[in-house]
């Protein structure tokens, strides 16, 4: 599935909830569904430092596509990471680099989460793009 299509799906899923409390309950559900990372992967190299919670992202490349795993000590952050996994895992480095994400704005996350300060959502996206850049350079 293309990134844009996955984004549409996420926007639609979130539009089912009117109340932010329900949207959060959904994020928590997504967070709880993320498979825990093995402890050895929760290392300094995979750590993305947010101000309030720790997030680990790991990238692997198979068949020209990037596959991500993620974990966090906070469940809501893990729910956010789960959304990014849905969007980016299995995509090509080129598609990851060229995409301009719109779902975060559309579901109102930016307004609700003050991402730069507290949850590292922006840092997570940045890290994913850095992984993509590194792998695309490697290919060339």
């Amino acid at each position: 599935m293309k990134i844009e299509e996955i984004e549409e799906d996420i926007i639609e899923e979130f539009s089912m909830y009117d109340d932010w409390m329900d949207k959060y309950a959904y994020l928590i559900e997504l967070g709880n569904e993320v498979k825990a990372m093995p402890d050895e992967d929760k290392n300094e190299g995979n750590l993305i430092r947010g101000c309030q919670s720790q997030v680990w992202f790991k990238a692997e490349k198979h068949d020209g596509r990037l596959w991500f795993t993620a974990d966090s000590d906070a469940v809501i952050t893990k729910g956010l990471a789960a959304l990014l996994l849905k969007v980016f895992s299995g995509q090509t480095p080129e598609d990851i680099l060229s995409v301009n994400l719109k779902f975060i704005d559309k579901i109102g996350l930016l307004k609700h989460l003050s991402p730069t300060r507290s949850n590292g959502l922006v840092s997570m996206i940045k890290q994913i793009k850095i992984y993509a850049l590194a792998f695309s350079v490697e290919k060339n």
Binding site: Q52, D73, S118, N119
Partner: protein, 404 residues
């Protein structure tokens, strides 16, 4: 008579809603709200009298200078300093401590000397001293605290020694909220000839301060935590000590005369106030202290003590609740965690209920390391908070806990 509803009516922000819910503001340890009369005073001076202080001969400049200096008198009386020369305006507690570390520290602390802080200090009373140690080759020593949040003074005679030049103690920790026995430590420090700074950032708004009775050498606090504007702070220092210290920042206002051969410095307190101060902020702080004095700090302290005791009691009934700092001598802040729920998750969800509290390490990472947690949640109270708000907090915590 302490009338909390009357006090609440003076703070327009308390009527605001967040996410269409009633605002329950319990992040007063980070910054308090300002009463309308403080904002009105600031507005009045900007709109009617604004002009730079200590410079002009004209009416407006004199008006602002007088009000600026009147604030200094109000502060002197508020903390019972001996003279207005001992009241120095800074940008906040952090800058006050940095002033001491740079001016006093670089003059009187030498290689091999020791500086002492407590394990429960805010970063702003740790980092400036670590920086001094790097510059001067002195050694940082730490007074530990016990699990109940009280300072552990059992080994104090081996920590504060003849080598000690400076002792920094937080009066009330911004995480543990326990009133420290500062007087006792000040006495110990003075026996060996060390100077003591009290970080009063979390005390000034809750507790009557008498710097002469404490006999502290320095006392630092911030305006914005006692219902005054942001960006203004105070450093109190004993006059003789301040006179023995060189200026820290150079610039306008702190000089007596300037030639390229030799500059002489102004008298106290101006030699430590380089550049244009935030004089309208200072005037606003004066108004805030006038307001607090009218209500009476003793009345405020009694009301808040009852409120915090109620909060601790009600919060303790929540399953999985862990409150940090269980000493009965608790004042103004209640830091906690619930079960295994991450502080960020709990804080994010409480926000959705309109309950605004602090999450994270609260600029006191050594305290987090002591309890082996990455962060905590903190409800911190002001004189306008109510038991009803405590009930809303507890109800919200229960509801959030059920989501995880």
């Amino acid at each position: 008579m302490f009338d909390v509803e009357k006090i609440r009516a003076e703070f327009p922000i308390l009527k605001e809603k967040v996410y269409n819910k009633r605002l329950v503001y319990l992040d007063n340890g980070a910054t308090s709200q300002r009463p309308k009369r403080v904002v009105d005073k600031i507005t009045e001076y900007y709109l009617k009298y604004n002009s730079n202080v200590h410079r002009g001969v004209h009416y407006l400049s004199n008006k602002c200078t007088d009000a600026n200096e009147e604030s200094r008198i109000i502060i002197k009386d508020f903390i019972n300093a001996d003279s207005t020369e001992e009241i120095i305006f800074t940008r906040g507690t952090t800058e006050s401590i940095n002033l001491v570390a740079n001016s006093f520290g670089d003059t009187f602390v030498n290689k091999g000397d020791e500086v002492v802080v407590t394990e429960m200090e805010h970063h702003s009373d740790i980092v400036p001293w670590q920086m001094l140690c790097e510059r001067r080759g002195c050694v940082l020593k730490v007074i530990p605290f016990k699990d109940n949040g009280e300072l552990d003074l059992s080994d104090i005679d081996n920590i504060i020694t003849r080598k000690t030049k400076y002792v920094g103690i937080v009066y009330i920790s911004n995480v543990l909220g326990i009133v420290n026995p500062v007087k006792k430590i000040i006495e110990k420090a003075h026996v060996v000839g060390a100077k003591v700074l009290i970080d009063g950032a979390q005390a000034i708004q809750h507790h009557k301060i008498d710097v002469q009775d404490l006999d502290c050498d320095f006392f630092a606090f911030s305006s914005h935590k006692i219902y005054g504007p942001t960006g203004v702070g105070v450093l109190y220092g004993k006059r003789d000590l301040l006179n023995s210290m060189p200026p820290w920042q150079g610039g306008g206002e702190m000089i007596n005369s300037v030639t390229f051969e030799k500059t002489t410095y102004n008298e106290l307190p101006f030699k430590f106030e380089a550049g244009t101060p935030d004089f309208i902020g200072i005037i606003g702080l004066g108004e805030a202290l006038r307001y607090v004095s009218e209500i009476g700090l003793d009345n405020i302290a009694a009301y808040e003590k009852d409120l915090v005791d109620y909060a601790v009691c009600e919060m303790s009934k929540i399953p999985g609740m862990k409150i940090f700092g269980e000493s009965p001598n608790k004042c103004s802040v209640v830091s906690f965690l619930v079960g295994n729920i991450h502080h960020y998750d709990m804080g994010t969800m409480l926000d959705q209920f309109g309950v605004e509290i602090r999450t994270g390490h609260m600029c006191a990472e050594p305290i987090m390391q002591h309890y082996k947690v990455p962060g905590m949640l903190r409800a911190s109270f002001a004189m306008y908070n109510t038991k009803e708000e405590v009930d809303i907090l507890c109800d919200a915590i229960r509801k959030v806990a059920a989501m995880f």
